[in-house]
């Protein structure tokens, strides 16, 4: 290379939002480098590692919290379903960090794979769950053409992910004999969990990670960095 060269500046998208005082404020969203499907090595590896990390989190979650919850809610899945969001986190976090088509799905599948091979109680069925959950988030991100990654998108992704999981899988396998009313309540609990834990929680998590500088290779980190040069 003999010419001075800048690395490709990540594409940016500015769109107006209004702040609490009513005056228009432009926020900058950094997008993944184009072409969208040209995944960089670090994208692939980070997505896979995030999936494995969430596999560890699920493990820790099972050890720490689930026993407490299960005994409290044994045999009453609608309340236990309020924890569904934890299993939807990888998809939301993966999608918000890497910002490419397939990121949410890949992260979720790797996390599910880790669960399965560790011997969780559902066996290979978790892969199917993972597929549905990842697709939910992918669909929402695709609806916004991979240009919007704010809180609303994250919450919507969490909700749709929960809907896919419940409507296409859990309604027919785990709660098939419920009355229609209870099935609806079950779905409602799942959607709330998806919105709060996966959507809001995932978005906050990604923001906090970006502030620590861990996401410097990704658009989320770049959004934070240029405004606070060291």
């Amino acid at each position: 290379m003999t010419q001075p060269r800048k690395t490709q500046l990540p594409p940016q998208d500015t769109h107006p939002t209004s702040s609490s005082t009513g005056s228009p404020v432009t926020t900058v969203t950094v997008l993944a480098t184009r072409p969208l499907m040209r995944w960089r090595g670090v994208d692939l590896i980070t997505t896979a590692m995030l999936g494995v990390a969430f596999g560890v989190v699920f493990w820790g979650f099972d050890v720490f919290i689930y026993p407490v919850l299960s005994t409290a809610t044994a045999g009453f899945p609608p309340v236990a379903e309020l924890m569904l969001g934890v299993w939807l986190l990888p998809a939301v976090v993966g999608g918000l960090v890497v910002r490419r088509p397939g990121a949410a799905l890949f992260t979720e599948l790797v996390a599910a794979n880790v669960s399965m091979v560790l011997g969780n109680e559902w066996g290979a069925a978790v892969l199917l769950s993972g597929l549905l959950q990842g697709l939910g988030v992918e669909l929402v991100l695709a609806l916004f053409r991979h240009r919007r990654f704010g809180l609303a998108v994250a919450v919507l992704g969490g909700v749709l992910s929960a809907v896919f999981e419940i409507v296409f899988y859990e309604w027919h396998s785990f709660v098939a004999e419920y009355s229609v009313a209870w099935k609806a309540i079950f779905l409602g609990c799942g959607m709330v969990s998806g919105a709060v834990i996966a959507g809001l929680g995932g978005w906050l998590l990604v923001r906090a990670l970006a502030r620590t500088g861990s996401l410097n290779a990704f658009p989320a980190g770049q959004e934070v960095r240029e405004s606070n040069p060291v």
């Binding site: 040209r38 720490f64 880790v114 066996g123 098939a176 004999e177």
Partner: protein, 854 residues
Amino acid sequence: MSRTPSETRLAATRPDRTPPVVKGALVEVADLTWRPFGRRAPVLAGISLRVEAGSRVLLAGPSGSGKSTLLRALAGVLTTTETGELTGSVMIDGSPATGSSVGLLMQDPADALVAGRVGRDVAFGPENFGLPRGQIWSRVRAALAAVGFPYDEDHATSALSGGETQRLALAGVLALTPSLVLLDEPTSMLDPASAAIVREAIISAVRASGATLLMVEHRLSDWVDAVDRLVVLDASGLVSADGPVATTLVRYGETLAAQGVWVPGADDPTPLQVSRELCAPTLPRSERGPGGWPGHARQAEDSIQPAPGDRCSPGEPPGPGDRRGPSGSVLVSAESVSLIRQHRVSVMSANRPAVAVEVLHDVGAEVRAGECVAVVGPSGAGKSSLTMLLAGVDAPTRGKVIGRNAVRDGAGSSPPEALHRWTSQALAAGFGWVPQQAEQAVVARTVRDDVLSTSRRLGLDDDAAQARADGLLAVLGLSGLAGADPHHLSGGEQRRLALAGAITHGPSVLVLDEPSVGQDRLTWSAVAGVVVAARDAGVAVVLATHDPLLIALADRQVRLRAGRVVAAAPEPSAPSAPEGSSTTDSSVGLGTTAEQGGVVRQEESRVPTVVPGPGFTGLAGRCGPLSLLLASIVLVLGAPFITTVRTALIAVGIEIALAPLVLGLGRPTWRRLLPCLFAVASVSFSNWLLSPAREVSSGALAGLRVAFFVLPGVLLALRIDPSALGDQLGQLLRLPARPVVAAVAALYRFEGLGEHWDQLARIRRVRGLAGAGRSPLDRGRSAVALTFGLLIETLRQAGWMAVAMEARGFSAVVSPTGCAPRRTWAEPATWRTADSLMVALGLFVAGLPVLLSR
């Protein structure tokens, strides 16, 4: 960890196969400037350098001078994890660097691991460049022979010590026969014995291959004989000296030593003079005055009866010659402790039985106030484990660790006898612990808050605490960063931050695990100064260390060897000392051969992919993972067609009848089935409860339906080996290769991340941050904090993995249109008849509900 006595024979047994000789590369760097986005000042500011073909160059300079950045720029991986402005040019043999002509070896050997077996790991580079299978394996063998690797190709990578892993990484680099080899502090994370072996391997292998060598190191004395030239960078990233090693050292030796580089021939650094008040222990509560600090407790002075040689009464500045005698009161005693580590189930060991390793056997130790004890021994001897027991963050399997006297008094009302049962607050009041990988120990948003977090949690006087924190930050060179986010600090700065955080609240016992690894001369002085000041102020200091300079500061040594205390004897010389790593202490899975007087553990040198059970292994034992997966998934799809209890009973009955045929006649794994049975029962119950008519049959139907796909699914999933699955997905199903390879490589990090989770939990406990209660809210808060810490570490590891993998050509063959690269696979994936049978059987069983409902 496997150790063999063959290390000494390394030089003697020269392999027949010599690796191919390459022509070394001519390296020309012209005016290279790099400014990452988000930084005001460039890291590299117009550096120019020329390295002749075949020469060996050592780069030295103070921390922060951009040496590692320069190496990454030469390897072409600078923009892998960062974006910024890059100007200037780098020419390797007159053209820009391509992946296969440059090899990069990184500091942490664990970053470069991508596979479960040695041979497969080395084959990663050739695979990326699409070499045919035969060539791949001949290169693998030549590379392993060049570094003198002691094991064969089937050895598990998780069973290697740090030095062996680093040699494996070197073999991986050499497998691509690069003409330029870059080494980024290759031995800084290893203990002296393994560092010597790795150094020898590097020197002989690179010399034999004829490549140009460019390396960065902080400790120059070991390498001056192996290199021709020394290039010195100054703090701003420009070349300040360049010439033959001997003459450059003579001229610039003093400047370098003053900047912190470990220059051969310079005097050993001395510990900094640090005020003892900064490190003095907080008095036990009963003796504490209103302020809680020594200076405020004047009225309590008379009530303290100092034992001869005990710490001097508070408020009195110690005289210059006032060294504590070692006969202070005992603060922690470990009595006949043994520690057996059971490996947590890992993704890669799903088929292997969990191996228990005895890390410590019948060890006794005492720690007294005002005394510095060094825990020494070869790597893997159990030093880290013993220090964790003494700090109360781990529980012994046998024996007990007890806190006594001042530590016990300070722990509030009647703490339990065993130290590991103390509440987090009680433990934090008396103890400070800095683990080996202290970068994990960040607990707050700013540096100052981090240092003060334990003091605040314990409710100590804030003004005094802040004064103390500021003093410690100044001593450790972190004052300028007091308001910064701890995550933005460099590794060395984070380690010093952890030390400050462990001592600000005035513990009576300070336990440090390898505090001087990776420190330059200046920071070494600061750390040693804090240790000495703490000891002189009456703190009981425990150091687990390899560093001879630190050992010289200690009053007493506890010498460990293979988990047992041995009598003090002169350190065995390097060649016969067993090799190990200073990064991880606990053995990972497999055992060692017997040493003289050492513990005999089972030895395993081969790890088969699937462990055949005793007797008939069943159809599943002969299948590859893909067919098992497909069969399980097909069962899930068949489940919704079960509509009557009769169908369900028949279907599940047939499954149970087929089980011996499919799964073999071994002992069934009841432990795995229990959670499933619980889940089935819970589903039955809830469906009965919430069904429209509340009929028992609804509940039974739901339960049986779930059992239909869960029971076989779980048992089959246990036999899936992820790396073989990856091979089959990539070759049989033709899924894009890079994602599959990335996923499999990431799966090998599972165990390490799990240990990281445990370590984070321990750190929170010893800093007083773990909640006392077991309420869901406390647990929830812990879970969030631990998840956050784990994700940060994950992202950090992922970044380094990406750099290592890209340096070995991971994205090498990406075509301009971005399609999947033409990557080859080192191991074949075959589809056997058993696989077809398995899938057919799965389809049959899954179709049963449909057939039966007619």
